[in-house]
Symmetry: C2
Subunit: 568 residues, 2 copies
């Protein structure tokens, strides 16, 4: 494992904001310092300071110069004291899942295994441990205050009015309109919130497949995703040693980690969908709950009667989990064990505070199939399941498509809102056309920005390799940046408090030729600087696009000013 | 000059569709042949042919294996016989502009000069030669039938109903709702139409600046832009030898070429805006009209009284032409010569059928400045000028911003439609956030797709180098593909006849693992294949993203089928 994995952002400092209800809270933010504006007037320099900008920071301790990172030991356990203070969970003497115990006992895996596995926590009998449980009881947790502070970047400092208080967070979670995915077995995680009245979040997918990747590469990709701004991370591994890979990722991941447990269940039955059973699946759930997965994608919205709608499609079923469950239902000619055992599933998840992400197994895989009966029938089932989860205080989000042409995007959000009682929506893209393999981070960022604006709470990224191959590190970076753009554009359009601060401050820097400030405030300072630097005019008051004589900004600066005044 | 500039698209053939009104018309299209679908049923192969797909083709003769390209001589003069047959234009004995004559006489430029310059055409006294003139007279020109056939790709072949007839084209042009930019001195051009009831078009910008580039590179970039799908091309050169560079580009460009004549006028007055005059500008217009420029960006919407609105901005004036004109107005304290001489400008343009693109000199340069008084006051002036141009039968389009957050995009289109009497809208992006330098092809494709859907007729591309440096070839490719995505997404959303054919056929190929067909139908077959190939599983029925056991499409194919049936 490469311990040289730390990084820093240019001219940035890791700062920690304090809590009020919980004064010990240390909410991580990135503070970008700016250079002053210098105006020369009548030969004299006048200097005006530019206030620093606070940026929402998903990078965890990796960007804190004062934290020692040891991947073998995992990140500091930030939330453990909060969890213990609640006194409603107990540490188990051993892991509960049969498979987990087998894996631990298998010495042939010793060289792969994360060494310092802690014993898992679980709710004490008769106790609720989910954020929704606390919210409904009127309790504001440290997690809730943490996210409230995090969402208000720049507002307090700049006097921008905001509605986001710890109490508002609590109300949103109690109503099911937002979730804080925060397994009590993932104390390394910095809390974050997903809901339409908060910043739009982005999820990234990593994970090996049977034909590519290894543990070290996956941990590197996870940290890389956090560096560029991924808010949550799904480990979609399907190849060998996914139990071990997951442990390494979770222990070293500062953002919530999601999985699709059916993938591992499939590995256990050697890839034969018909051999899947509730027993195998249940053991997998417990195994992953105790490792610290924060949310599970579960394709329990597929009903036997609705599967035939997919036969009329151009692309059939394009969800991996969806196709597996449909196959199972067809072979056994009965409702899936996921649907039948949904209450049992919720009972398990509630003991660890794992959120459920209702998987859209029948999402559209091409624009021709968008908004069809297969897709919407599944959404109706999801609406029913949301209420069952909430009864058990399990936090829920709803997954959505996929491939949807622009004119059909809004209907997805409107239906989801009504049918699923405002549970947060979490969509993949959508891709607004099918004709651009190799550029699907762009086809989908177009749809993602729109669906985010309409109210989707989290956007699942798509990389340039979608449909073609497993993404590498640069693909992850491109996908994350494309989705940060989409999410930020949606935040602006929705009027999130403080969202435009970064744009405005960056534009001011651009106008004043404070190139470094401009880049330091951008989503990818390294790339912007690299492009600019290659043109060999660093420090000049123009770029090679227009050259010195045709720079509109230079000319614009001379308007309405006496000739003795200029920005230096 | 590199004559090895020809290229081909995979599994594609250049075909020419015939006209009905003009049977000699040869409308260039790209025909993509597909492999058959082979299903194995009970051990027997059943083969179903897949019909070829016709793709709108902007690549001109460069992709026709039967045409010999000689950059020294320029492309075949496709439209010359049409122009001559109308008998309303005459070939002049020499070029009319003083500057043009000076340049021709300057032997130090001989080594740079395009050798085979033809003498220019100009309207005979008392004759109209613009497409709008003909349209109002009820005449359907070959240009009109050409674009009607071009817009109907796949409709005739697949029996898709369409409203696009030559007569419809004529009506739209007569009403000013569409233009065919087609200077009688650019007979090499293949006609194309810009208007909201047609396919959304994209414009690309190339051109040297004082600090970079040369003629050969610019011609290469022009052809490159056409290869990837640029519908029109603006030559924004501002450095040395822009007269000579332009000649090379126009003679070798199969798509309409636009310029911003004020740039060259500025070179003539050695970069001093205050020295600009109507006389210098007028001579520049005539010079470029006679070279064959198809549309001019003219920043005549800036009124002296409106300039102070820009002083309240964060980014001031970011249009090069706009900043020059504002500077001139401020120094001279009077209305610009462009505004004052607008009727004279139209009189000149009408003699060659050069369209005017009313430049948005006061467009917003950051989201903070979007939709402000500076921007909208200019739009009001444009509305007045549109009617004056139409009186002289000059075709008009209107340029729009810029940087606009999503929630303010629609207002731009709605206002433009009303104020400018449905003249086609032509926007740069808009960029929906300012925080992603290095990725502004994406920030702007998000806005472009939306504004195209709302009715914008042409989208001006933005490359990843925007704000940073002059784009290179790969930047042009990235910018064009991002904008083809935006334009196509808008065509789908608007319900353009036949727009979804390519998506559906590509998706069918994807579902059936006909990889090559999938790539050949995509916007960038080379890149898609390159990504796919690098994963080393060419020909397999899965990609490395999911591996063989988790490919949803593979599993989906086995649903609802007896086990003896599979797609080969």
């Amino acid at each position: 494992m490469n311990d040289n994995i730390k990084f820093s952002y240019p001219n940035s400092e890791k700062v920690y904001l304090k809590g009020t209800l919980y004064p010990d809270l240390k909410v991580a933010m990135r503070k970008v310092s700016l250079t002053p504006t210098i105006v020369v007037r009548n030969g004299k320099k006048e200097k005006t300071e530019n206030a620093p900008v606070y940026i929402y920071d998903t990078s965890g301790p990796y960007s804190d110069k004062d934290v020692h990172i040891d991947l073998q030991r995992g990140l500091p356990r930030l939330r453990e004291s909060w969890i213990r203070a609640r006194n409603d969970a107990e540490q188990l003497p051993e892991v509960s899942s049969e498979y987990g115990r087998q894996k631990l006992a298998d010495h042939s895996l010793d060289h792969l295994r994360f060494e310092h596995i802690a014993l898992p926590y679980k709710a004490k009998k008769g106790h609720g441990v989910t954020q929704m449980y606390y919210a409904k009881k009127g309790i504001i947790t440290p997690e809730m205050e943490y996210v409230a502070i995090r969402e208000n970047m720049n507002c307090k400092e700049l006097g921008i009015p905001t509605y986001i208080t710890p109490e508002f967070v609590r109300q949103e979670i109690a109503a099911g309109r937002a979730i804080i995915p925060a397994n009590i077995n993932h104390p390394e995680e910095e809390p974050m919130i997903i809901g339409k009245n908060f910043l739009v979040k982005i999820n990234t997918n990593i994970g090996n497949s049977a034909v590519d990747s290894n543990i070290e590469k996956e941990v590197e990709k996870a940290v890389w995703s956090c560096k560029w701004g991924g808010d949550t991370l799904m480990d979609l591994s399907t190849g060998d040693n996914i139990h071990e890979t997951r442990e390494w990722i979770i222990r070293n991941c500062p953002v919530p980690v999601g999985t699709v447990p059916i993938y591992q269940a499939m590995e256990k039955v050697h890839g034969r969908a018909e051999k899947l059973s509730w027993e195998v699946y249940r053991d997998t759930l417990i195994e992953q709950c105790e490792q610290g997965v924060d949310y599970f994608t579960i394709h329990c919205g597929i009903r036997l009667k609705n599967i035939p709608y997919a036969f009329k499609r151009l692309m059939g079923i394009v969800s991996r989990g969806g196709s597996i469950i449909a196959k199972w239902c067809e072979i056994h000619q009965k409702e899936s064990f996921l649907y039948e055992h949904f209450d049992d599933i919720c009972d398990i998840l509630a003991q660890y505070d794992v959120a459920v992400s209702l998987g859209d197994g029948l999402r559209s895989g091409c624009i021709y199939d968008a908004n069809d009966k297969a897709q919407f029938s599944e959404l109706d089932t999801m609406g029913e399941l949301v209420e069952r989860a909430w009864k058990k205080n399990v936090q829920v989000i709803i997954e959505g498509p996929g491939h949807v042409p622009m004119q059909k995007i809004r209907e997805n959000v409107e239906r989801q809102t009504v049918k699923c009682h405002e549970a947060p929506f979490y969509t993949l893209g959508p891709l607004v056309t099918d004709i651009a393999p190799g550029y699907d981070h762009i086809t989908s960022a177009i749809g993602a920005a729109q669906i985010g604006w309409y109210g989707t709470a989290m956007l699942c990224y798509v990389t340039p390799k979608e449909h073609l191959a497993l993404p590498g590190k640069d693909d992850v970076r491109m996908g994350v940046v494309a989705y940060k753009i989409a999410a930020h554009a949606a935040d602006i359009a929705k009027g999130h408090p403080g969202a435009t601060v970064r744009d405005n401050v960056l534009s001011k820097a651009r106008y004043e030729f404070r190139w470094k400030d401009q880049f330091n405030l951008s989503l990818d300072p390294e790339r912007a600087f690299e492009y600019y630097k290659a043109s060999n005019h660093v420090g000049d008051k123009f770029c090679t696009m227009c050259g010195p004589n045709f720079c509109a900004v230079r000319i614009s600066q001379t308007l309405n000013q006496d000739d003795h005044c200029s920005i230096l």
